[in-house]
Every structure is written in structure tokens, then in C-alpha cells.
């Protein structure tokens, strides 16, 4: 018993002696644990918040829009098999005018039943009350919109509804599970300042839009085991005669899809990153422990000679690993929980949740603990096994000297190309190929991690350049309340400040090829389009062919289509009329699922004559305010998307979001580099102290002696760079694939500056750790080292 305590004392003293190296390993472990807890914690918290919000506020599972459907369909919709509740609503676009804001905002207004409580997509009331039924000027607004303008119940603002200006008074601030992520037309990220969701009484809206006894939007909840596909089909059948544009499930619902893709990304982060750290820390543990055991050979022999069992000695060293893991685990858990809360809050701000639920599953910590300790012990296993197997008599003799091999035969070079110091570096490097390789891999992983973190700036910049400067170069996009004749385009041209007008037509479709099908919108563009252009795969503008359909690469891949293949188009606006059209081009597009046609060709297909859905315009910047003032008055314009504002908002939001994760990644990469380089330098120093001291005795200077150590480190760091770039490229491809969804596709662009920055950060931290070790070389105790036996 007393003896055990002595071994534990030795353990503590060993740790005290090795504290810097042990801490470096613990920190690397902590990084793995942290990313696991951070990403899993945030993803679980968000999922819990999402599902609680969905459940309590009855988020619909099937959605449908129509032009104008009679309310007497309600019982038939309710009785579709699997449907538990249905809410038939009026949802219409509005233009919002806010005092003090020059550019017009837009939004949608959603009806709430006169009974007050919706059966589906219920509202969470943050402040005030819901608008009274049949009270014309009352409105409830979503929280983000209210916050962006500092609105409180009692405040007023103006809207243009169905061409008529109205003044509305806010009665309440609400949140809806339907608009956790509310994105305006033409925007790529939410901009609550320019896009609001308004709720008004059903009676008031039906009279405002001439929709008495009718609805244009349905939201359904289904029973637990309902067949959603069957519900969608049933609903489509009922709505088809009334301009139904095809029902869809949650995966096609904008807000849900965005939230879901975000959760997927978090989950990906939780599964891809931590193993990297655990791998590196296992390697470091192996390195340190092997060295410690080599140094303590005689002590191990002695312990066994005086009667400690093999197991007791093995357990003693295992405990050292467990203590280091415990420290790493503790740091990682604390940092992970703390940062996880931060990340969840950040998401909470970005997504409109009424409440956040922070979940701290004990299981998560248990998993982290098990995985970390297991990885560390796995790394230590060979070293520990060696102590167990070491016979005491052998242990008390010094180990046989290290065998080196000649680099190029054993011939004596008369005029050596390299100095003997350089030969020492190369031989040592090659003598321990596994260790050298692992050190290179560890360093390369930090480079890769940095490339993975930093390339998102390049890709987002490329994406912004493509979308805003190559493809959609208009200043603003106007959407008409309904498809209009060519005279509408002329009227837009007459608006003040408008320099160029390009009409477009868009229509909702379902594209089918065999069993593949996807809902999307076909954009009709004129061949003279200069503002909005279709880009080919080299990002060069291409003319939409006079017939046939141009698909974005992703759509072509999803539907398994190639140029020349016929594709079946189901026109949602026209009661499921189906036509077959050949694919005549493949285009590049990063947002949404895109399909393009020449405008006249599309109109021919729709058999509607020369109709347009809206226009893209180029505006004289000096007359913007004048134009905004006019647009607010034009009833035919349902919404307005401002390209510059959208672009800036996108840039700002993305930067904000990625800078959080980039800060974390950069810190992690520095810790890995430090852990790997510092440890391998320390181990080398301990193994070669005698060699280095001898060099000092022969009269080599401190700089020359350190160079033996540092040149090898430099060699490792340099070889690691290209490998790191390559691995970083690979991770980036994985990330891009992981992020790719029907909503977004991020182009893979990695600039040379990114590779350079990644390398500089890693080289910088390598230099710092090398300098720390160099200080130790400088203070080598020559006499003591030389007097001791190897």
C-alpha cells in the first residue's frame, strides 16, 4: 500500500518534470474534445430548440400554394388520409415603407384566423397581442423585423397592399416556426431590415386582396405515421384546378431547409474534425511515453527487481497517460461547453428562435472521455507493452546503441558534399522514418486545417464575384404582382433614373427524368440580356438558346441529364400541364436550383402570349431616392430586390459567421503545430543531449549545435507544407460537398494567399516552439551530460 503511494509520488514528480510536454499533448486532446462538444453541443441544442419550437407551435409538414382556391375545400383537405390539421391562409407580398429608410422594404403578409389561434404554424407572442379580428389597421410583426427598426407595440408603418397604401399599427411582436430563417426575394441571407413577415386578420386580408371565401396558401400538419407523399398528391389533386403550384414537404420549405443544412454542417464538423486531433494526440502520447520509458529503463528494471509485478509497472505508466487525458478532457469540456453556448447563441441570433434550449447530454461528455482516453492509451499501448515485457536484468543494462545506416553506400567521401552536421541531420531523420513521417503528418494536418478554414473567404469572394458581377449585374429586380404584358416593361423604363430594363419571366415547374424529379423555377431571359446573364461552366456569359432548356450543373447531375436528353416539364401554374423539352445547355449557378430558357421560347411553352413576371433594371445612382419614392407608389410592383444591399448584407453576414469558426480553427491549428513541433524537438533534445553536448565540447558554437536540431525540424516543417496544401485541398473538397444543397453551392476556390497564410501561421508557430527548445540547447549542462552513461 505504502509502495503504491511511492509510485504515485513518482507519477506526480514525472508530471511535474514533463509538464510542458504533457500540457502540449493535453491541449491537443482538448482541441478534439472541444470541437466534439462544441459542434455536437451546438447541433443538439439547436435541434432541441428547433424540435421544441416545431412541436409546441405545430409547424406544418406539408405546404401548398394556389392562385385562388375556395374555402369550401377545407373539409376535403382535412379528411385527406394522414392529415391532422389544416390551415387555409391568405399569403401575399407587400411593399413596406418605413419612415427614415429611403429604399423600400418588402415582405409577406399572412392571415391569422378570426378565431385567433391558428391550428398550424402557431405564433409565439413575444410582446403585445395578436391583431383583433376584423380590425383593419392592426398587424403583428416578426421579432427580427421589429428589432431591426426598433418597433414596439403601438408603433406604426406604411405598406402597399394590393396597390393600395395603408397605415398599420403594431399590436404584437411574434415568432413563427415557419420563418425561423426568413429570406427576402433576391437575397441570399436574411435581412430583417428590408424583409418582414406581417400577420393580419383573415377578414381584413380577404377584403384587401379580394379573396373573400378563398385562400391561396395551405399548411397542413400530419399524423405521426402519415404518408407525406400521399398527402401531397391528394392536396395537389384538390388544388390543381385553382392554380395550385404543387404541394411540398418540409425539405422544400425554405426556412426548414436552411436550418437543416446548417445542422448538417455542424454535425459534419463534429464528426470530421475531432478524429484529426485524437489521432495527433495519440501520436504525441506515443512519442513522449516511449522516450520516458527509454530514459527510465533502469528504474523499470529496478522496480521489477524489487518485486513489482509487470502489471503494476505497466499500470503506473498507463496512469500517466490517463492523467494527461483527464487534463485535456477537462480543458476541452469546459472550453467546448462555453464556446458551444456562444455558437448556439450566434445561431440563435441568425435564426429566429423564441427560446434556446441548451442540452448537455452526460452521454456526450462520456463519449468524449471514452474516446479521448482510448485514443491516448492506444497511442501509449506499444510503449506500455514494452515496459511490461522488459525483463529486469535486461532493463538494468543500457540499451544497445542505435544502428544507423549510410545514406549512399559506406564509401568514404574525400570531398563531402554535405558537412558532417548535415549528415547527422539526414541520418537521424531517416533513422526514425515512422516518427519523422508522423511528425510531418501532424504538421501537415495543421496546414490543412488552416487551408480548410481560410479558403471559405476565397470561395465566398468567388461566389460573390460570379453572382453579383458576372451573372446578375442589375441594380434591382422588380417583381410584378402578376404576369403582365409588355406595356408593364415600358412603364418601368419610364420610372425616374432607370437606364436599362430587361424583362424576365419565371414559372414554377417540376422537372422529371425517369424517377428523378425536382421542383424549381425556370427563368426566361431575352437573348439580349446584358444585366442578368446565364454563365457557362467557364463562367463566361452564354446566350440562352432559342429553343430548349439550359440546366445548371447541379440540376443536370440531380436529374441525370445531359445535353440532348429530353426532360419532362410539369408546369405548376397550369394545372400540371406537361411538356417535353430537350436540354440544350449546361450552365453554372451557385444559388438554388436553376433552369433557364429564352423568354419567347418559355412564353411559347406557357401559351400565354408575351407576358413577363418582372424586370431587372440598371439605375442612375444619383436618382435612386427618386426611384424608390416612385416605386412605393406603383401598385403593380409586388416586390423589389436591391442587388447592392443584398450583396453587402450577404458579405457581412457570411464574414460574421465564418470569422467565429475561423478564429477557432486558427487557434486549433496553432495548438497542433505547437504540440507536434515542440514535443518532437523536446524528445530529440532529450535523446540527443549527449551528442549535442559533445559538439559543444569540440568547440561548435551554440548556433551550430542548435542547427543540428532545428534543421531537422525545418526539414519536417518544409516537407509538411505541400502535403498540408494537398490535404487542405482535400478537406476543402469534402467541405464543399458537405455544404452543397439545393439552396447553395459554394465554388471551390483556394487562392495562393490562403496557402501562403496557412503556411506562414504554421511556420510561425514552429519557429516559436523551436526557439523555446533552442533556449534549452543553449543552456545544456556540458559536464553533467558527458559524465553520464548513455
Amino acid at each position: 500500500m505504502v509502495a503504491m503511494r511511492m509510485l504515485d509520488r513518482k507519477l506526480l514528480r514525472d508530471l511535474g518534470r514533463l509538464w510542458a510536454q504533457a500540457l502540449a499533448v493535453a491541449l491537443v486532446m482538448a482541441c478534439g474534445v472541444m470541437t466534439l462538444i462544441l459542434a455536437m453541443g451546438a447541433s443538439r441544442s439547436l435541434e432541441a430548440s428547433q424540435s421544441a419550437f416545431y412541436d409546441r407551435y405545430r409547424f406544418a409538414s406539408v405546404f401548398a400554394e394556389a392562385v385562388r382556391a375556395p374555402r369550401h375545400l377545407e373539409p376535403r383537405i382535412q379528411s385527406l388520409p394522414g392529415v391532422s390539421a389544416a390551415e387555409l391562409r391568405i399569403v401575399k407580398p407587400v411593399i413596406i415603407t418605413i419612415t427614415g429608410m429611403t429604399e423600400p422594404a418588402s415582405g409577406v403578409v399572412v392571415s391569422i384566423p378570426d378565431t385567433g389561434e391558428s391550428a398550424v404554424n402557431r405564433l409565439y407572442l413575444r410582446a403585445g397581442r395578436l391583431p383583433g379580428s376584423r380590425v383593419p389597421g392592426e398587424v403583428a410583426v416578426v421579432e427580427a423585423f421589429a428589432a431591426a427598426h426598433g418597433f414596439r407595440p403601438g408603433d406604426r408603418f406604411d405598406v402597399v397592399m394590393n396597390g393600395k397604401a395603408r397605415r398599420l399599427s403594431i399590436t404584437g411582436i411574434v415568432l413563427s416556426p415557419e420563418f425561423i430563417y426568413a429570406i427576402g426575394p433576391g437575397d441570399m441571407v436574411p435581412d430583417p431590415r428590408r424583409y418582414g413577415i406581417l400577420y393580419m386578420s383573415e377578414t381584413v386580408l380577404s377584403s384587401a386582396f379580394g379573396m373573400e371565401g378563398a385562400f391561396n396558401d395551405a399548411a397542413l400538419t400530419t399524423m405521426r405515421n402519415a404518408d407525406t407523399r400521399a398527402v401531397i398528391e391528394g392536396l395537389d389533386g384538390l388544388l390543381a384546378p385553382y392554380g395550385g403550384t404543387g404541394a411540398y414537404g418540409r425539405k422544400d420549405q425554405m426556412s426548414h431547409a436552411f436550418l437543416d443544412s446548417e445542422l448538417t454542417q455542424l454535425f459534419a464538423m463534429a464528426t470530421i474534425i475531432p478524429p484529426i486531433f485524437l489521432f495527433v494526440s495519440a501520436f504525441l502520447v506515443n512519442m513522449i511515453l516511449s522516450r520516458l520509458i527509454a530514459l527510465e529503463r533502469e528504474q523499470i528494471g529496478l522496480l521489477k527487481a524489487v518485486g513489482y509485478t509487470d502489471l503494476a509497472v505497466g499500470w503506473h505508466y498507463a496512469k500517466l497517460v490517463i492523467v494527461i487525458s483527464a487534463v485535456g478532457l477537462a480543458i476541452g469540456c469546459v472550453a467546448g461547453s462555453w464556446l458551444g453556448r456562444g455558437l448556439t447563441r450566434l445561431y440563435g441570433e441568425f435564426f429566429a428562435f423564441p427560446f434556446l434550449i441548451f442540452t448537455h447530454g452526460i452521454d456526450l461528455y462520456a463519449i468524449a472521455a471514452t474516446v479521448t482516453v482510448a485514443a491516448a492509451l492506444a497511442g501509449a499501448s506499444s510503449a506500455i507493452w514494452a515496459t511490461v515485457m522488459l525483463p529486469p536484468a535486461v532493463a538494468m543494462r543500457p540499451p544497445s546503441p542505435t544502428q544507423y545506416r549510410s545514406l549512399a553506400g559506406a564509401a568514404v567521401p574525400t570531398n563531402p558534399l554535405f558537412s558532417q552536421l548535415t549528415v547527422m541531420v539526414f541520418r537521424h531523420f531517416l533513422r526514425w522514418p515512422l516518427r519523422s513521417t508522423m511528425t510531418i503528418i501532424g504538421t501537415a494536418l495543421s496546414v490543412a486545417l488552416l487551408v480548410t478554414a481560410l479558403f471559405s473567404f476565397d470561395s465566398i469572394d468567388a461566389m460573390i464575384d460570379t453572382i453579383f458581377f458576372r451573372a446578375d449585374r442589375q441594380d434591382a429586380t422588380l417583381t410584378f404582382a402578376s404576369a403582365s404584358g409588355p406595356e408593364a416593361v415600358t412603364r418601368v423604363g419610364d420610372l425616374p433614373g432607370v437606364i436599362r430594363v430587361e424583362p424576365y419571366r419565371s414559372t414554377a415547374v417540376k422537372l422529371k427524368n425517369g424517377r428523378h424529379e425536382r421542383r424549381m423555377v425556370i427563368h426566361g431571359l431575352t437573348q439580349q440580356s446584358e444585366l442578368s446573364r446565364v454563365l457557362d461552366r467557364d463562367l463566361l456569359p452564354m446566350q440562352p438558346p432559342s429553343s430548349g432548356l439550359v440546366l445548371s450543373e447541379r440540376v443536370a447531375a440531380l436529374l441525370d441529364l445531359q445535353i440532348g436528353d429530353p426532360v419532362e416539364i410539369e408546369l405548376m401554374e397550369f394545372a400540371d400541364r406537361k411538356v417535353s423539352v430537350p436540354v440544350t445547355g449546361i450552365a453554372e449557378s451557385y444559388v438554388g436550383l436553376a433552369a433557364y430558357m429564352e423568354l419567347t421560347a418559355l412564353n411559347r411553352l406557357l401559351m400565354e402570349g408575351r407576358r413577363v413576371s418582372g424586370a431587372r433594371i440598371l439605375v442612375d445612382e444619383d436618382r435612386l431616392d427618386e426611384l424608390y419614392a416612385h416605386i412605393k407608389q406603383v401598385p403593380a410592383i409586388a416586390s423589389l430586390a436591391l442587388q447592392t444591399v443584398s450583396r453587402d448584407r450577404f458579405r457581412e453576414t457570411v464574414r460574421q459567421n465564418i470569422s467565429y469558426s475561423i478564429t477557432i480553427y486558427v487557434t486549433l491549428a496553432i495548438i497542433i503545430t505547437f504540440g507536434v513541433i515542440y514535443n518532437s524537438a523536446r524528445i530529440q533534445l532529450s535523446e540527443r543531449a549527449r551528442e549535442l553536448a559533445s559538439l559543444r565540447v569540440f568547440g561548435f558554437t551554440r548556433a551550430e549545435v542548435s542547427s543540428v536540431l532545428l534543421v531537422e525540424l525545418a526539414l519536417i516543417v518544409i516537407i509538411a507544407q505541400p502535403l498540408g496544401w494537398l490535404a487542405g485541398y482535400g478537406f476543402a473538397v469534402l467541405m464543399i460537398r458537405g455544404f452543397e444543397s439545393d439552396l447553395f453551392r459554394i465554388p471551390l476556390v483556394i487562392s495562393q494567399a490562403t496557402y501562403a497564410t496557412a503556411s506562414l501561421v504554421v511556420i510561425g508557430s514552429a519557429v516559436v516552439s523551436a526557439l523555446l527548445v533552442r533556449r534549452r540547447v543553449d543552456t545544456l549542462d556540458l559536464i553533467r551530460v558527458l559524465k553520464t552513461r548513455d
Binding site: 542505435t402 559506406a410 563531402p416 558532417q420 549527449r690 565540447v697 561548435f700
Partner: protein
Amino acid sequence: MKINAIARPGGSVRAMATDNSTSEPVFRVENLTKIYRTGDVEVRALNGVDMTLYRGEMAVLLGPSGSGKSTLLNIIGGLDQATGGKVWFGDTELTGCSQRELTRYRRDHVGFVFQFYNLIPSLTAWENVALVTEVSRHPMRPEEALAMVGLDHRMSHFPAQMSGGEQQRVAIARAIAKRPDVLLCDEPTGALDSRTGVLVLEALSRVNAELGTTTAIITHNAGIRQIAHRVFSFLDGRMSDCTVNETRVDPAEVKW
């Protein structure tokens, strides 16, 4: 710069005579003290040592462990610094040199041989010697140095492929290859059996005779005293005795 100003004492190499008055001193040690402090404990490793070593002389330093002989060797070799007293190497006062100057001194003037050889395991015999000749001003060729210790046939072997005696002879070749002014050997045969120990002593004697290198050998082994010109005995940090060998014995005849 002072480091470059450290001049070699004496001129041409002459055969060592027992009459010291005709030779110039290489080292002059005056009232040398060295005190090690660990916590409250103070150890006087050297307690006022005076001695002079002459050019071409072979000196043996005898004494039990802790008597101060190694400390003395380390100080005159520029590995350690004295607490008090003075050491001159020719006209240069070593006790006043900076670390940088001592490094330069070791590089240019001193050859060391240690009990545990201290060869670089990743370099072959030839390379271990070349390691030193690369940075020396007037070195001999590594193969020449190895030939002097009888190892010209083992040049491309790594330390792990050689016996202890062979490794020690490589260490001697490495120490003499730069044609040092002094060769300092701390228990050079301590880790060797008598047969290989003799080979090592023969190598040292030959170097001393042929190159005229002042050689100081520390040993526990009283038999070795017979090969020296002079024998210094140490006890408790002081030099207790100094005797001149009227007749030197060939290393092969040393009684172990």
C-alpha cells in the same frame, strides 16, 4: 578579437625532456578553487591548486573520486568556470574568457577524450573525425588520424558496429585530428578491459611522442602512472603530490 588572439604557446615541437626548465609552460594554474553550491550545501571541489603543465609533456592525474582532478581538467579544458584563482593558457588568461571565447578556445586548441567515448551514433568513424576537421584551422586528414590509432581499416563503420576499445580510439583520432595543443583525457580506459585499454594507451603515447601534444590523463588506475612524464596526485580538492618518472614504461608493459 580576443578569441583569435589566443596564441599557441611555444614554437616548434621538441622532444619532451624530464628537465622542465627547458620547456615553455602550456598551462599555469594559480590558487584555483571551485565551489559547487546546491541549496545550502557547499562542496569545495578544488581548494587552492597550483600547477604548471609543459609543452609536450604527458601528465597523469591520479586520485580517488571527488578529489578534484576532473574539475581541474574541465576548467583547463574550457568546459567549466573557476570560482577563484587563475588559469593561463600561454599568455591568455582562461579564467577571464567569455563563453564565446571558451568555445573558440575548445575549437582551436583542445582535444577531449571521455570515458564513454561520446561518438555521434549517426556518423561513421571517418565522419566522426571529419566532424571536427571540418571546423579546424590546420587539421590532418581524418584517415591520417585514424591510421595513427590503428583504425584505418574501420573508417566506414558506425559506432554501433565497433567494440568499446575501437570506439575509444576513434574518439582519440577525433581529438587529435585538429592537431590540438593539449589533449585532455578523462578516464579514457575506465570502461575498457586491460587488453583494449593497452591499445588505447598506446595510441595516446604515440600521439604524444609523434605530435608532441601536451597530454593530461585522469585515471583511477595507478598502473597507468608509469607511462607519464609526471604524475600528479589529488586528494580532497588539493594536489597532494607530484612525482617525476625517471624511467617511463611502454604502455604494453603496464601492469593492470
